[in-house]
């Protein structure tokens, strides 16, 4: 199930910024890393964003960041990583500005983070829902964002395919 609620200012933004790939700053927000597909999909999305020339920041808990750091020790796929709490504080204080956010969600806390990113950035948010309760979680999203849903836990391929269909690196 892939459904889209794209805020109006998203289209305005795309039309008014032709050099978007240079100016875009994408924030990838990781949730709790206990579901295996998250780490590989964050690396995949970060890699595609990096290849497209988009400044990509990954925010996560210390454990989630360590999984990424160990998988990509030389930074082939990732650009920047930040602590999740520090990222929230920086957004709230206006010290960090991003153009689009991608929040990995597999529990209620993830929905809180997705809603918070929308409120803090006032920019398009994509919630990528995975894990056994992904479909149930999707019904909890009552705020405007793009939703990508696949109840994947170990095998990332279906969710990777859905992310490729959305192709956020091409927007």
């Amino acid at each position: 199930m892939t459904s889209s609620f794209i805020p109006l200012d998203f289209h305005t933004y795309c039309i008014s910024m032709p050099d978007e790939s240079i100016r875009r700053v994408a924030l990838l927000v990781m949730g709790c890393p206990k579901v295996p597909v998250q780490t590989s999909l964050v690396l995949y999305l970060a890699s595609r964003m990096k290849k497209a020339g988009i400044r990509t920041i990954i925010a996560g808990t210390p454990s989630a960041r360590q999984l990424i750091r160990v998988a990509d020790p030389d930074g082939h796929y990732i650009m920047e990583m930040k602590d999740l709490d520090a990222t929230v504080a920086a957004l709230a204080d206006g010290e960090l500005t991003v153009t689009d956010s991608y929040v990995f969600v597999h529990n209620d806390a993830g929905i809180s983070y997705a809603a918070s990113m929308l409120s803090l950035t006032n920019r398009p948010v994509t919630a990528i829902l995975f894990g056994e309760e992904a479909v149930q979680m999707a019904h909890e999203i009552t705020f405007p964002c793009t939703v990508i849903v696949e109840p994947a836990t170990h095998n990332p391929m279906q969710l990777k395919r859905k992310i490729e269909e959305a192709a956020p690196w091409d927007v």
């Binding site: 949730g31 709790c32 996560g60 929230v88 209620d108 806390a109 809180s112 983070y113 809603a115 918070s116």
Partner: protein, 90 residues
């Protein structure tokens, strides 16, 4: 940036949903709605807006979300300064 562990907090409810936190706090007569990122005790509050916080005497009650453990409902005593900040927002 602050840390919850530096506060003398008490957990009222653990591993609840953001909806349950909002419902629980509704029963308090003095309550306020804040937006994500609102800073209390130097901690940025996370949640689906509006995020409800409540005053109970000198204590402040609010939801605190941890990525791996969901939302907790926290009571912090002797919170006069933060309560005054909330009241001043009105």
């Amino acid at each position: 940036m602050g840390c919850l562990e530096s506060l003398p907090y008490e957990v009222l409810l653990s591993k609840i949903s953001f909806k349950e936190a909002r419902v629980f706090l509704s029963k308090y007569p003095e309550k306020y709605d804040v937006q994500p990122g609102y800073r209390m005790f130097d901690i940025s509050i996370i949640g689906v807006p509006p995020i409800r916080v409540a005053v109970d005497g000198e204590s402040l009650l609010f939801p605190f979300t941890k990525p791996c453990h969901g939302t907790f409902l926290i009571r912090v005593p002797e919170a006069a300064e933060e309560i005054a900040k909330l009241r001043a927002r009105k």
